[in-house]
Amino acid sequence: MAFESSPQQAQAQAPTPLSPQEFKATAEAILTNVEWVIEGKAPTIRLALAVMLAEGHLLLEDVPGVGKTQLAKALAKSVDCTVRRIQFTPDLLPSDVTGVSVFDPEKRDFVFKAGAIFGNLILGDEINRASPKTQAALLECMEERQVTVDGNTYRLRSPFMVIATQNPVEMEGTYPLPEAQRDRFAARLAIGYPDVGAELAMLDHRGEFNPLEALKPVCDGETVVRMIATARAVHLAPELKRYAVDLVNATRSNAQLKLGASPRATLQLLRCARVLAAMDGRDFALPDDIQQLAVPVLAHRLIPTAETTMGGGDSTAIVADILRHVPIVSQPGRY
């Protein structure tokens, strides 16, 4: 499949959308590529790609060694864009993230040295180990998609996506992200351990070579921008919007939750739903898309009450419960 990707043209005017079939084919090419690296995690990869195409940021919360970094790297490599990795530590400074102006003796002026954030895909490893100050700097960039240093504003690249990871088990010496900052991540995913077959296959592959190094990009950054534009044009029916609002409202009125989902959550839910629809080759979204996304997009924003936590409940279970009860068509009694 040939893509007319001319960088000059694309910068000059709005990106031309792809047809649904092209979108689907490209998305599947990327998924196949990434799956080659991370076996048996197709749904997670699919959601990660959806978040990327929805211009959201992803929080990977899982134990070490399940492939969080691999996923981020494979994704970045597949779309042929720059990957920057920031290993968060308590002594990491905000300027390490954003960049810093240094004095250039030759020019006799301050020159901006771009930080790690200036890339297409930023992998923030163990984000909860950085000091709140540094976390805040990163999160600001995530939301604004720009960096301001010494009064100069620098736009970040597009596509721009932060994939942050954190370890949910070992919490000693960490600075857990506050709710306001967790809310900036479009979705939280857990990769989880591979099943037996996938793990065996992995052993076979990795014995010979590192698949990540052999990975070839299947599309460029330009195509990704066009895909983003395409996804934005996916039709959202009023019933569907209503369903999303009902879901979010249900989290707000749920007695087991101290804090419900924000309006930003609604926005991102629908944005991701559009991408999923487009990845399915559709130009309209379905409640099924929303249901797939509800747990990743909503769960990390919710705070269960103390009673629920003590009773062994967590927000994932509550969202799943809400999904089981909120009617698809919002009419009190169809009859």
Binding site: H235, A237, E239, L240, A250, S253, N254, A255, R282, D283, F284, A285, L286, P287, D288, Q291, L323, R324, H325, V326, P327, I328, V329, P332, G333, R334, Y335
Partner: protein, 778 residues
Amino acid sequence: MNSQRHATLVAAASIAITLTPMLGLFSGLGWTIPLLATIAVISGSAGLVRAGGRGQGLQTLAMAGALLVLLTVGFGGGTGFLFVVPTPATFEHFANLAAAGISDIIVLAPPVEAEGGILFLTMFGVGLVTILHDMFIVGLRTPALAGLTLLTMYLVPVSVSPEATSWFWFILPAAAYLWILADDNLRRVSRFGHRFTGQGHLVGPRFPSPLAASARVSGALFVAVTLALLTIIPTNTSGLLDQVAQGYGEGDGLGDGSFGAVDPWAQLGGALNRPDTIEVARVTTDDPTPFYMRMHVADDLVPDRGFGPGDWDDVQPLDTLPYDGGDVYSATVENLELIDEVAPVYGDPVSVDLGDEWGVESETGVIRSEDSSMADVDEFSFEFTDFQFDENILAGTDPLPEDDPIRQYYTDHPGDIPELDDYVEEATAGADSDFDKVRGVLDFLSTENGFTYDEEVGNSGNDEAILNFLESGEGFCQQYASAMAWMLRVADVPTRVVIGLSKGSYDGEQWTLTSNNFHAWVEVYFDGQGWVPFDPTPGTGVSGSLNIPWDDEPDESIEEPDEGTESPTDESSASDEASGAPSEELPESPTPDSDAGAIGQSDDSGGFNPAWLSLALLAVLPLIPLLWRSALRWTRLRPKRLSAVSAWDETVDLARDYGMPVGDAQTPRQAAASLAQAVPASRAPVSALASAVELHRYSGRGALIDGLPDAVKDLRIALDKSVDQRTRFQAIFRPASLADRFSAWRERVSGRRDRKRPTLRWPRRSNAGRPGPVTGRP
């Protein structure tokens, strides 16, 4: 209010509600005051004793005492000590009152004035029932038994006057009963535990029961079904349906005519059905073969009532009684029990030695009084001439001209009863003269034609009763006489009904007339002959009945006919030996109804019977869900209304019907997947339906609807094949989707007050945040 006091109030109120069926028995509403007072005093005394912590024995004694004191105050007639404490004389007085009341009940037609003996008996009875009622509900805590007391209260008016007691009044006692049961159950539950909703929420004692709505619905259904059954069960008298049509309060139409206080029809029925025969009069006469004693004449025919008194005001003094020749006999009547405002006389009276307040109704020949009654007369004498007619003369008499006022008045009848016309057609086929028609009708009503005498038949002569009589062939003199007169009027023969006394038994000196001698017969007007009596009732049924000579087939007469004038009072002729030796037999016990009689015969007339309509409706009842569901499907799938959404609604309902429910929170895709998993054959149609509704709802472009009805059909076939017989049956005859619809509708309608809670119901939310004085889980 503590629960016992509450129960006492419920008991009193429920028994008070049950007084309503008596509305038809008494005139006015004044009687309610003493009865309500009785209930209040008895319940109050029970409540007081209970409040004092005394046991059931003392409570009952207190109630009985209260009733006794109340009766002594009200009816003691001053015999009580200090007017309050009854003395032996008081009880004697009570006994007299009761006896008077009983005889009043037998003779008087409802509605009656509630006074004297009747009121005494009523108060006494209601008092006893109230005591039992209170005991059952409050003291013994067996509210189910209260059904007996309520039934007793309802049976009193029903047995006294089935006509005047509409089935409608059964609803109130039934509702009162349900109230008692519900209240007691509430009391029981509140005492021993907590109430729960179906979801397990606790409900505080002050809150309405969450299940009350269902209980009310099932209660109402129960009452409705009971009434429906009552309505359709055919009875040997007039069915309850007749009274539906008749309405409440019209059933007493007989009592408000100019017959006076005593309704002769009621008196007739009551007297004939008396368990103990009493003597009503003794007559001494020198006529060897006296005829029946005429008392009342019923010449006004109204469908709802049958024959009743005409509106005759022209009462002439007794000395205007004419004499037109013939042998004059004399008779002396010793009155024992008669209280009518008319005097019984033989034949055509020539003179009657009653006072000035008595006169003769010139049109009917009835001896009556406006101001006095037979109750004031112990004995009177009169002179009379006997009826004498010849059948050959009668057979040769031409009908009155059509414009003759007598013919016009006495053939007046309601014209819209085709069944009756058929009977008349059958009876009078080939008859030319009036006499032929009379003979035809007499033959038609004869025992040979299958008619039998039966006093068990209700005391009614209205159109329904007459038709029943003609169909079933069972009735007594009221039906015989009314039917004959009615049929003759239909056949344009001037006719009226006469009520009086048959001859009674002769002991060589006196004719003794008993309550069994009350009788009704027919008089037919013949031009030039006057009013000629005929008796259609078979002789075996009537004590002291008479074989009327002109009743028989005409043959060679021995008598010279008397050419009388036209006046009703001037037929007279010489006494004859006639054929009529008084038959001395007692009334035969009525032939037992063959049970097919009342039920089976009522439908082969081809006439419309509402009972069968009800039965048909009842038969259709189980099919209603099926029909409704089919109609719903048809509406959804008919081309005009068809859309992807309506087809999907049908899909969801189908899945529900076949026991594979689709949740509200399931997307069409998920629903289709789960259905396809359960029934692989349904995969194709349900996928088509699901993608259609997806496109319709979410694509913004709409969906193609071609083939959707077929897909629904395929789906239905697939589902139908996949389930067992029982599920299939349920899906067709008791579709679950309809039940869901119904309960959703009921929830909407019931308009619960706590509706504001979120639309979602969380099973696990327990009682957190719910108001109510709940002290903890039991």
